[in-house]
C-alpha cells in the first residue's frame, strides 16, 4: 500500500512537471503536436492548451486517494495514446519531437521515449491494481 502511494507520488510529480513545462510555453507544444501531422490545426492548438492542464490536474489527483483511480485511468489512457501516436509517427518516417517534457526531451531517442512510456504505463497499471486483502493468520 505504501509502495503504491509512493509510486503515485512519483508519477504525479512527473506528470505535473511535464505539464508545467508545456503550460509555460504553449507555442512550442503547438509545434510539437503539429509535427505528428495527425490532427487539423484547430484541434492541434486546442490540445496544446488542454493536455498540459490535464496532466497537471490528473497528476495532482494521483496524490488524493479518493480520486486517484480516476486519475490512473485517465493517465493510462493518455500514455497509451501517446505510445500509439509515437509509434505511428516512427512508422511513417517522421522525425518528431515528442514534447513530453517540453524541449528538455528534444534530443531523446525514440527508444528512450518508448522505454519511459512503457515504464510509466506499467507503474500506472500497477498502482491501479486492487490491493490484496490480508487475512489474519490462523492460530
Amino acid at each position: 500500500m505504501r509502495i503504491k502511494f509512493l509510486l503515485r507520488v512519483v508519477l504525479g510529480a512527473i506528470f505535473i512537471y511535464a505539464g508545467i513545462l508545456k503550460i509555460v510555453s504553449p507555442l512550442r507544444f503547438v509545434t510539437d503536436i503539429s509535427n505528428y501531422h495527425l490532427l487539423p490545426w484547430f484541434a492541434t492548438v486546442a490540445l496544446a492548451f488542454y493536455l498540459p492542464w490535464l496532466e497537471v490536474i490528473a497528476g495532482l489527483a494521483l496524490l488524493w486517494t479518493r480520486v486517484s483511480r480516476g486519475a490512473l485511468l485517465l493517465l493510462s489512457f493518455l500514455t497509451c495514446v501517446f505510445i500509439v501516436a509515437s509509434a505511428g509517427a516512427k512508422a511513417r518516417g517522421l522525425d518528431v519531437t515528442c514534447g513530453c517534457f517540453g524541449h528538455a526531451s528534444k534530443d531523446w531517442s525514440f527508444g528512450r521515449h518508448l522505454l519511459l512510456d512503457f515504464a510509466m504505463l506499467g507503474a500506472l497499471i500497477f498502482c491501479a491494481l486492487p490491493a490484496k486483502e490480508i487475512h489474519p493468520a490462523r492460530i
Partner: protein
C-alpha cells in the same frame, strides 16, 4: 469501474477551465487558423542566393559538429537562447536565411524558421526542402 470512469471524466472536465483561461491569455500569440506554409526553397534556389545566403543548421549540436554546410550557424530550439545572439551578430538585413534540418521528414527547420520570423522579427527566412540530405546529395560535405 463506473466510479473510476466518472472520476476520470470529472478530472478531464476540470482541466478544461484553466486550459480555456490560458487559451484566452495567449489569444493574440497563437493563431487558430492554419498558418501559411513556411517559405521553402530547393537547393538550386538556395544556391541562387549566392553570397546573400546565410545557412542556419537547426539540427542537434552533435550532428552539426559531425558535418555541416560550410559557414553555417548552429541554431536549434534546444540551445536557442545561447546560440541566437551569435547568429544575430553575423546577420545583416540583406542576408537570406536558409534553415535546414536532417531530412525532408524533420520539422526542426520549420520551427526555427518560424521563431526567427516571429520571435526575432527577421525577414527573408527560408526552409531548405530536403534538408541536410538534399544538400549532401548536391554538394561535397565538409
Amino acid at each position: 469501474m463506473g466510479s473510476f470512469f466518472r472520476q476520470a471524466v470529472c478530472l478531464a472536465a476540470l482541466a478544461l477551465l484553466p486550459a480555456a483561461g490560458e487559451a484566452i491569455y495567449f489569444r493574440e500569440r497563437v493563431s487558430w487558423r492554419q498558418p501559411a506554409p513556411s517559405d521553402e526553397v530547393n537547393l538550386a534556389q538556395a544556391d541562387g542566393f549566392a553570397a546573400q545566403v546565410m545557412w542556419i543548421d537547426a539540427r542537434p549540436r552533435e550532428q552539426f559538429e559531425a558535418k555541416h554546410v560550410p559557414g553555417a550557424f548552429l541554431l536549434n530550439a534546444g540551445e536557442w537562447d545561447e546560440l541566437l545572439p551569435a547568429m544575430l551578430n553575423a546577420w545583416t538585413p540583406d542576408r537570406k536565411l536558409v534553415v535546414y534540418c536532417s531530412a525532408q521528414s524533420c520539422d526542426a527547420s520549420k520551427e526555427v524558421a518560424r521563431r526567427l520570423k516571429e520571435e526575432a522579427g527577421l525577414k527573408n527566412v527560408y526552409v531548405l526542402t530536403g534538408g541536410w540530405e538534399a544538400w549532401q546529395s548536391g554538394h561535397y560535405a565538409h
